[in-house]
């Protein structure tokens, strides 16, 4: 396979080349190193968002019974209004604020004279109108600069209204991407919410699903599967999650982690404080789902549970096998590129493999080295000015609540059998010759498509249209193009159908990428296959 990485980099100036070459890796079968979580290059179209987007948009936004107020001028709140397709259903007698957008709509005078008073009154109004149990305040760029103390306002609001109020200093410029916002949100949830409830799970096997944002209903599908197996879901961070359920998260027996990037802080902090172990799971893909379910069962170690899980797997498989096979016939041998935030690019490779497809390009917007290379690199990650500014909580063991499910000896045994308290990263699951790009930009996306010519490219709205203009099918991995769920057994079929439909639609027989141009008979509509 020709080396495509160098073709990609050659167009850059010397300075830019120096920066970007560390972020672009062509795998060669050995353990690879990549630069990640460093500042984006100004002037290139990075796909990255900001700290506020990570805190409000990703982590706390989906909490349905929380009134999340954006403190700042109007834009940021508007742009983060319903743009992640998290689904949430209303609990009996409870409220669902996920379709609302609250902003303090700061004006010039508020920037000059400070916005604390306005924020305080905005909370008063929100409480009077909506009676939320919990209010969260997310700060945008100007807040830290003008010196508004959102934490102090939150404390005063708690006293005044007798509700929970949490301030997040997630100003857009903090850190280098959304990732900083995840960390700040994780800290706030850990400090203020987790451990404040006392509703113990009813079932002896209970889990929290961490890093599942219920895009397209993925969380619901996972919950359905787990319930079928006899495992209780105490809380979900945070898709279809709620303040109420997060309060009781410390009473679950095990944490299962979907999106490692956005939530690993909480997994680790809960482990330190309450002794709860975590395992990295992946419900995207049939084989991945089976592996995840088996590992959960193995962790609990109950023979009846193990048996039940096998029954469920067999039954669910029997329901999808035929359709998966027919989809595989259409998709086998196709190649894919996938760029997503910080975990999906790894998850979806498993599902694409189930469908007989190969992932040849993968990249992340805001992942850290551990997401690419595995958690064992964490001690070796260099701290820089940007990540030093993000607070690391000091966690102390909660002597009253701390408990271990397994003895240290048993843990040693289990560690060899399941992915316990660790994560191996994405690159190990990829093949030699594949290209991995960190903090990919618009230019590189275009060049990669021209150079690697994948059949389908999974990314987001910002590059979707240029990919399609290049004649390549695009599906949005952030919003699922309103489809889903893609998780679990049923989700695999839905995803497969979506991909097959996209690749085989007649439309793409007429809109062709340039390299498919010459031998085609223009204008002929064929029945199914896209490229003769």
């Amino acid at each position: 396979m020709p080396v495509k990485r160098d073709n990609l980099l050659e167009k850059y100036s010397a300075k830019l080349y120096k920066n970007r070459k560390e972020h672009i890796v062509q795998l060669d079968g050995e353990d690879a190193k990549i630069a990640a979580n460093t500042r984006a290059v100004p002037g290139v179209m990075t796909a990255r968002g900001c700290c506020y987007a990570g805190c409000k948009g990703v982590v706390v936004g989906p909490l349905k019974d929380v009134c999340v107020i954006t403190h700042g001028p109007i834009g940021c709140s508007f742009y983060s209004w319903g743009t992640r397709r998290n689904k949430a259903r209303v609990e009996e007698g409870e409220q669902n604020f996920t379709s609302y957008c609250f902003s303090t709509d700061m004006q010039e005078s508020d920037i000059v004279f400070g916005g604390e008073k306005k924020l305080e009154k905005a909370i008063d109004e929100a409480v009077a109108l909506f009676h939320p149990k919990c209010v969260m305040i997310c700060s945008t760029c100007p807040i830290g600069l003008i010196g508004d103390d959102v934490q102090a306002v939150a404390k005063r609001a708690e006293k005044k209204h007798g509700i929970k109020a949490i301030g997040f200093s997630c100003e857009g410029y903090k850190g280098v991407s959304q990732s900083a916002g995840h960390h700040i949100a994780n800290n706030g949830l850990m400090r203020e919410i987790i451990g404040t409830g006392d509703r113990a799970p009813e079932n002896i096997f209970s889990v929290n699903i961490l890093g599942e944002y219920n895009i397209g209903g993925d969380g619901w599908e996972e919950e359905r599967l787990l319930k079928r197996c006899g495992i209780e879901v105490v809380s979900i961070f945070t898709g279809d999650g709620s303040y109420e359920s997060l309060q009781n998260a410390h009473l679950a027996k095990l944490n299962i982690v979907m999106c490692h990037r956005s939530i690993n802080y909480i997994a680790e902090m809960i482990k330190e404080k309450y002794g709860i172990d975590w395992i990295k799971v992946n419900f995207i893909g049939v084989k991945a789902t089976i592996r995840s379910l088996r590992e959960i069962a193995k962790y609990f170690g109950d023979p009846a549970l193990v048996e039940r899980v096998e029954e469920v797997i067999a039954d669910e498989l029997s329901l999808i096998e035929d359709e998966m096979e027919s989809i595989r016939l259409k998709l086998a041998g196709k190649t894919a590129g996938i760029f997503s935030g910080g975990s999906r690019s790894h998850h979806y490779q498993m599902l694409l493999a189930d469908l007989g497809m190969e992932t040849v390009i993968a990249g992340y917007e805001f992942a850290h080295r551990d997401d690419y290379e595995g958690r064992e690199v964490i001690p070796f990650i260099k701290e820089d000015a940007d990540n030093r500014n993000i607070e690391v909580l000091r966690i102390q063991k909660d002597e009253g609540m701390y408990r271990k499910f397994h003895s240290p000896e048993k843990m040693e045994v289990l560690k060899d059998e399941i992915e316990l308290d660790r994560y191996g990263g994405m690159m190990r699951d990829m093949d030699a010759g594949d290209i991995v790009v960190d903090d990919y930009n618009h230019f590189e996306t275009d060049e990669l498509i021209k150079g690697v010519k994948p059949d389908i490219f999974f990314s987001g709205i910002k590059d979707k249209h240029s990919i399609q203009k290049a004649g390549v099918v695009s599906r949005q991995m952030h919003s699922y193009d309103y489809s889903g769920p893609y998780a679990g057994f049923n989700g695999a079929v839905i995803f497969g159908r979506d991909v097959a439909m996209a690749l085989c639609t007649n439309a793409w027989t007429l809109v062709k990428p340039p390299w498919h141009d010459e031998p085609m008979l223009v204008g002929e509509l064929t029945g199914g296959e896209s490229h003769a």
Binding site: K11, S13, L16, A40, P42, G43, V44, M45, T46, A47, R48, C50, C51, A53, I69, G72, P73, I74, G75, C76, S77, F78, Y79, W81, T83, S99, Y100, C101, F102, S103, D105, M106, Q107, E108, I111, K118, K121, D124, E125, A128, C141, P142, L145, K160, H161, G172, Y173, A385, D386, N389, D446, K462, D463, K464, H465, S466, K469, G471, P514, D517
Partner: protein
């Protein structure tokens, strides 16, 4: 409801950099870079890409914490350098953001230094000051246009104008509308320079090779020529001078500026065409035909359009264009709303909408700037909007309201084709009009048979006793959301009770001391219809005086017939002293009266003689125990007859301390035995001038003890509100209180009105202490008559229970800022001073609101004219 003061719930606006980036996209070879954190660019790219279905490249200087603290020049220089190396743009718009403006970045100086360091960059770099807190996308859009013109056009004013050259400045219109505008100008033979031209750049074609730098847009060389044009036409009447490119060209180069509405609808187009013709344009025969087609369609669909009650929202100029199109077609824009703070908005739209609303019998309309979607949704519900026109953010409200949303403007995120929506030109207007008409026709098609059938032909449904109990607020209790209306058609009474004074309503049934205006049966029907329209949960119509319903039986019967004829499903209810009940019971049942309230104060004639002084029965006056005996006998037999015939009976009993309190238990037993459903033991409220004026009032505890004693014999009512004879609404909320409605249709001198805030609990008389009022009723009066305007809650203006005294005052004054006076039963000294200091006259009053307000207005005007002399 006005906008909340501090929280924006579901915003109807975006920020300045968004608008700036969109405007810059309309220039040839142009790209923008936002100086701030990278999230701004990412969010804006995402929103524009979803709307236009196009790749959107907006760069960012990607400031991090270091940049925020020490300044971001290094990042911006690097960003410009990279942008130029990778994309080779000819024009770069550098737009500031909240972050850059808050830390005070000097864009001009930075750009100057960039040019010094990179002399051969080949790019014109424009700086745009667009802080997110400085305005909405609309202001950002124009500010970017102005910046481009200001920083491109230079040199001395041209002496000779380029003959026939017209500058056109467009607000945010779609690429498709831009294409139309260009081709229209072209076909009219007008030479023009259009800024911005997003027709190709934001609506590209599928290409063999995708070009990163878009080839469309207005070239800067054209922008340079704008100074020599004969005139600038700016399709915005609202943007401020300082953000107007046309104003710059006028002030700096003497190019005349004409601001005009968007060419939407007949009048917008005619105006545009007139101007083009004045500058040498010619309208082709084909375009003349298009005008004819539009006129033809106006006539074809006017009946459907007249049913439309549209809520239009978006940028001010867009809203004005659509409002104009709606109005000329008789579709009433009951709500015109914009998220921008726009001073001239109300004034510019009011006259036209008012006229249209009157012609189409629409009851009301609202024009609101600085408006969020929670407010828009509220008004849509209140004003009965049946269609929304605007961006896709209206979809949530439209979904909840069950009405159509015609997607126009920006952003459209849930449909494809945002870049192809049309509102300009005859054809664009016509497409839009068809959508409005068709939405109305679909509604009619779905509903009209059912509506007409239900209104005129549906057979009466037997209403079971259970249903009757559940849907009558007096029987189903406090929690009831069912509303009732009392129709005051019965002024006369046939007995004289000791606690009653004839000049007021009957205290058996009504709030003591209040007097209702008596209505004729036809007036009662009109009031019923008006109320029914506004109150979907109206289930009961009742006649409760002001005298005795059965002492005025002809009017009572006529009223019942009229109401029943207009609304066969309504439940009818009536209250009486029972003297005539045996005579009319059968007829009442036949008329459909299902609920009756009979006031029985005693079943012992010797006690009764102490309560009533006489009874007039069939032309004879009985007095003393004979009167009491007759009344009791008729009450008891009447209750038995009516309840046997299926009516639900409530027995009212006025507890008179020392007179009948000993025999109320007996009343309860008897009532229950005869089939009454419940007994309502009411407190006696002493009325000045009545015979029992001095009787001590029974305490709440005593009353409760009485009810408990009687509980074993009969169901007790504990939620009685002692409503007035003209009450309307639910028990807890006389929301459409009759006083509001009474004054709604009076002749009114709108020129010389005074506005008053009234402290009133009842909504009928001024009966509250200023300091106790949680809300004020706002009335306007010209001195002769008065008109209810709205209710204002102080809590809306005051930030909660612990709001400090000073803060609360500020809020009260804010709430009352447009009032000339305040009416209350009493006002403390300090507040009185404060009100006076703010130019609000405090007035003590205790009579009916309308009268008090009119009198106050009269005296204020007198005082004014006296001081003027």
């Amino acid at each position: 409801m006005s906008n909340l003061v501090n929280i924006n719930v579901n915003p109807c606006k975006m920020c300045m950099p968004m608008g700036a980036a969109m405007a810059i996209a309309g220039f040839k070879g142009a790209m923008s870079i936002l100086h701030g954190s990278q999230g701004c660019a990412t969010y804006i790219r995402r929103h524009m890409a979803t709307h236009f279905n196009e790749p959107i490249d907006i760069a960012s200087s990607a400031l991090s914490e270091e940049g925020a603290v020490f300044g971001g020049e290094k990042n911006l220089q690097k960003g410009l350098d990279n942008l130029i190396k990778m994309y080779h743009p000819q024009v770069i718009g550098v737009c500031s953001t909240c972050l850059a403006e808050t830390i005070g970045e000097d864009l001009k100086a930075m750009i100057k230094r960039f040019h010094e360091k990179n002399p051969g960059s080949g790019a014109s770099i424009i700086d745009v000051s667009s802080p997110g807190y400085g305005g909405t996308q609309n202001e950002g859009f124009f500010r970017a246009l102005r910046a481009i013109v200001e920083q491109t056009v230079s040199g001395a004013p041209h002496k000779a104008r380029e003959g026939g050259l017209i500058n056109i400045v467009a607000p945010m219109i779609s690429p498709a509308d831009t294409r139309w505008l260009k081709s229209f100008l072209n076909e009219a033979g007008v030479r023009s320079i259009l800024i911005p031209d997003i027709s190709d750049n934001l609506d590209g074609v599928a290409q063999k090779r995708y070009e990163r730098l878009k080839s469309g847009g207005t070239p800067l060389s054209d922008v340079m020529r704008m100074k020599s044009a004969e005139i600038t036409l700016e399709f915005s009447e609202f943007i401020s001078e300082k953000d107007s490119p046309g104003a710059f060209l006028r002030d700096a180069f003497g190019v005349p500026l004409l601001r005009l509405p968007l060419p939407t609808g007949l009048r917008g187009m005619d105006r545009f065409i007139d101007i083009l013709c004045a500058y040498g344009g010619k309208i082709s025969a084909e375009h003349a035909k298009e005008r004819g087609r539009y006129l033809d369609a106006m006539a074809d669909s006017h009946k459907a359009n007249a049913k439309a009650r549209a809520a239009v929202f978006g940028d001010p100029d867009f809203v004005k264009g659509i409002v104009s199109l709606c109005c000329e077609n008789g579709a009433v824009p009951v709500l015109a709303a914009t998220g921008s703070a726009c001073a001239g908005f109300k004034r510019a739209l009011g006259g036209e909408i008012e006229k249209c609303a009157q012609n189409a019998f629409a009851e009301g309309f609202e024009i609101a700037d600085d408006c969020d979607f929670s407010t828009i949704e509220h008004f849509c519900g209140k004003l009965g909007a049946n269609i929304m026109i605007g961006s896709s953010d209206g979809r949530r409200a439209a979904g909840r309201l069950g009405i159509d949303l015609i997607r126009r403007g920006f952003p459209i995120h849930d449909h494809v084709g945002g870049q192809r929506t049309r509102t300009l030109g005859f054809d664009g207007s016509l497409g839009m009009l068809d959508e409005i008409s068709n939405s109305m026709l679909s509604r009619t098609e779905e509903n009209f048979r059912r509506v007409i059938y239900n209104e005129h032909f549906k057979p009466l449904k037997e209403i079971s006793k259970k249903e009757r109990l559940e849907s009558h607020p007096c029987f189903s209790g406090c929690a009831s959301q069912n509303a009732r209306i009392h129709l005051p058609v019965a002024p006369k009474c046939n007995i004289q009770c000791g606690y009653c004074k004839r000049s007021f309503d009957c205290p058996n049934e009504s709030r003591p001391g209040a007097a209702s205006k008596v209505l004729s049966p036809n007036e009662a029907l009109e009031r019923y219809k008006r109320f029914k329209k506004n109150c979907k949960n109206l289930t009961v119509a009742g006649i409760a005086g002001p005298g005795d319903a059965l002492a005025n039986f002809d009017d009572t019967r006529e009223t019942i017939r009229l109401i029943k004829g207009c609304d066969p499903q309504v439940m009818l209810c009536l209250s009486t002293n029972g003297l005539m009940l045996p005579i009319y019971a059968a007829e009442l049942i036949k008329l459909g009266v299902g609920h009756m309230t009979v006031t029985v104060n005693t079943v012992d004639p010797s006690v009764g003689a102490k309560i009533i002084s006489y009874a007039d029965f069939l032309g004879r006056r009985f007095t003393g125990e004979a009167a009491a005996g007759l009344l009791i006998a008729n009450q008891l037999s009447g209750i038995k007859m009516a309840s046997e015939m299926g009516a639900v009976i409530k027995v009212n009993c006025v507890a008179l301390k020392g007179i009948n309190d000993g025999c109320i238990e007996e009343v309860s037993k008897k009532a229950s035995e005869l089939g009454a459903y419940m007994v309502n033991i009411m407190p006696h409220i002493p009325i000045k001038g009545s015979q029992l004026e001095c009787l001590e009032k029974m305490s709440v505890g005593e009353l409760e003890a009485l009810r408990t004693t009687c509980e074993p014999f009969a169901r007790q009512m504990r939620h009685c509100r002692q409503c007035s004879a003209d009450a309307a609404g639910t028990l807890d909320m006389d929301f459409f209180s009759a006083s509001e409605e009474r004054s709604a249709h009076q002749e009114f001198d709108t020129e010389n009105t005074k506005r008053f805030a009234v402290a009133s609990k009842s909504g009928i008389i001024v009966d509250q202490h200023f300091g106790h009022a949680e809300e004020f009723l706002i009335f306007d009066s010209d001195g002769a008559s008065s008109r209810f305007v709205e209710r204002r809650k102080i809590s809306r203006y005051c930030g909660g229970a612990e709001c400090d005294e000073e803060g609360k005052w500020a809020k009260i004054l804010k709430a009352l800022s447009d009032c000339d006076g305040v009416l209350a039963v009493r006002i403390g000294h300090a507040p009185e001073e404060k009100l006076r200091a703010s130019g609000i006259v405090p007035i003590r009053a205790c009579e009916r609101i309308e009268g008090a307000v009119a009198a106050a207005a009269g005296s204020l005007r007198e005082a004014e004219s006296a001081s003027a002399l």
